[in-house]
């Protein structure tokens, strides 16, 4: 056994660990310290609002493009004979947060927010209705 071959790597390793001890830890103290969410982060969806109502015109492009088939849209007709989304639901248990719905939307009615804490207690709470999606500013 060559003593140099045995001890030199150990001493080099000791140097590295000692150097690391004086580095700033990368730990994020999560509930008290919040992570910085990137500008283009794909979190929970939100429906955009214009003139006090959702911009969505129920064109069905987002449920069509959705690879997880998690978006349910049902069209309705309002007093001005304009098409609007009577039902707009996203099932967060199926959503893969790919952002295709945002890309597909022709009227910029949907976007993705930085919200990532999506845990819940029951399955039905994961289905986000139109009202809940509108609440997300």
């Amino acid at each position: 056994m060559n003593p140099i071959k045995t001890f030199v790597p150990i001493i080099n390793g000791l140097k590295i660990t000692l150097k690391h001890m004086f580095m700033k830890p990368v730990t994020l103290q999560y509930p008290t310290e919040r992570p910085k969410v990137a500008a283009r982060f794909r979190g929970l969806h939100a429906l955009n609002v214009s003139h006090n109502k959702a911009k969505c015109v129920a064109c069905y492009l987002c449920p069509t493009v959705c690879p997880a088939k998690c978006i349910t849209v049902e069209a309705g007709e309002d007093a001005n004979h304009d098409k609007f989304a009577a039902v707009y639901e996203i099932d967060m248990l199926r959503c893969i947060f790919c952002g295709y719905c945002v890309e597909a939307c022709p009227v910029d009615a949907i976007r993705m927010t930085g919200e990532f804490e999506l845990a819940n207690y029951s399955r039905k709470d994961f289905v986000y209705s139109k009202e809940r999606l509108l609440e997300k500013k």
Binding site: G13, I16, T17, L18, H20, M21, M23, P25, V26, Q29
Partner: protein, 355 residues
């Protein structure tokens, strides 16, 4: 007229009890906070934070851990050998603590005209004017540390589980083979000191302003003894008896609650003892600059040296991965034992030439 009990003054008994309590509490607290320090140090070495939530910077973590373990359910496997299973943690724990009895942690202090040597198993004889301690202190420590292996082997066997048995077998093989190398490597120190008494070994290292340490005269013995000691107390990188990746938790797989905590305490108490012993034999014990003029500086130097060695153990743990079993046996039998024997021969020839 002085009040005598069995021919010894009352102050002797008071001092003895005080020394035992202080040393025991010191070791217990160090054990508790060594777990915290280990988690913190290794955490920072891995660029993490370590415990942060319980108390300021996680300072109450050892207490929280202790409370949690204390209230856990005691599980005794139905096929286990109950008596041996219950007694094993105690057999591991007690030798780990009683080894501290012969380690001198300071010089002689004078309290109310009575001289007290800061070593549990020692007393100052006023008629002879010198300190008497166990004149085979090192032998006592070697004996006690080899008793500790019984606890681990018994735990492994009594659990009646394959993982535990494997852990116990590994522990016995490892501890016995490294004890030989450790024992042989410190023989070189006794050839220099000419005594086995811990107090005298420390006294022999007090020259050159408290820096005449045996580590400078026997560096090879120091390195070998420290590595063998780490192997003997089953710490990383030699923690094969409880190798998580292979044996779940080795000999303590089936243990829960306070009995599991006892194995942990034994492990850390062993680490403290080994570091204290290395300090005494090689790093001059409580010696240091001005330690003889200010007797209270002695314990400070001693604790500082011991804590540095404990830090080194943790540093090593954060750095070196676990050795394979055949590598472990190779290092023990084919490297350290021949080297230790060679060291004895060289020391002997050197001493002969000097004379």
């Amino acid at each position: 007229m002085e009040f005598l009990i069995f021919g010894l003054p009352l102050m002797y008994y008071v001092a003895m009890v005080a020394k035992v309590v202080v040393a025991f509490v010191f070791v217990l607290l160090t054990v508790a906070y060594a777990t915290y320090a280990e988690r913190k140090i290794i955490g920072h070495m891995q660029v993490r934070l370590g415990p942060m939530r319980t108390g300021w910077h996680g300072l109450l973590q050892p207490i929280a851990d202790g409370l949690k373990l204390f209230f856990k359910e005691e599980i005794i496997p139905s096929q286990a050998s109950t008596f041996a299973f219950l007694i094993a943690p105690l057999i591991a724990l007690i030798p780990a603590f009683i080894t501290f009895a012969v380690i001198p942690f300071g010089g002689t202090v004078e309290v109310m005209g009575y001289k007290i040597p800061l070593q549990i198993a020692a007393y100052y004889d006023t008629a002879a004017g010198k300190v008497f301690d166990i004149n085979v202190g090192v032998l006592y420590i070697l004996a006690m540390s080899s008793l500790g292996v019984y606890g681990i082997v018994l735990a492994g066997w009594a659990s009646n589980s394959k993982y535990s048995l494997m852990g116990g077998l590994r522990a016995s093989a490892q501890m016995i083979s490294y004890e030989l190398a450790a024992g042989l490597s410190i023989i070189a120190v006794f050839m220099l000191s000419g005594t086995l008494s811990m107090t005298e070994i420390v006294a022999k290292q007090s020259g050159m302003g408290g820096f005449d340490w045996y580590v400078f005269r026997q560096p090879l013995a120091f390195i070998m003894f420290f590595i063998c000691s780490i192997a003997e107390i089953n710490r990383t990188p030699f923690d094969l008896p409880e190798a998580e990746t292979e044996l779940v938790s080795g000999f303590c797989t089936e243990y829960s609650s306070m009995k599991y905590a006892m194995f942990f305490m034994a492990e850390y108490a062993n680490m403290i003892t080994v570091c204290a012993l290395t300090t005494t034999l090689f790093l001059g014990g409580w010696n240091g600059p001005l330690a003889t003029t200010f007797p209270l500086l002695g314990p400070v130097y001693f604790v500082g040296k011991v804590y540095f060695l404990i830090f080194f153990c943790m540093w090593l743990r954060a750095t070196v991965p676990r050795y394979r079993y055949d590598q472990l046996m190779h290092i023990g039998w084919k490297v350290f034992i021949p080297l230790a024997l060679l060291n004895i021969v060289v020391t002997g020839i050197w001493n002969f030439i000097i004379q």
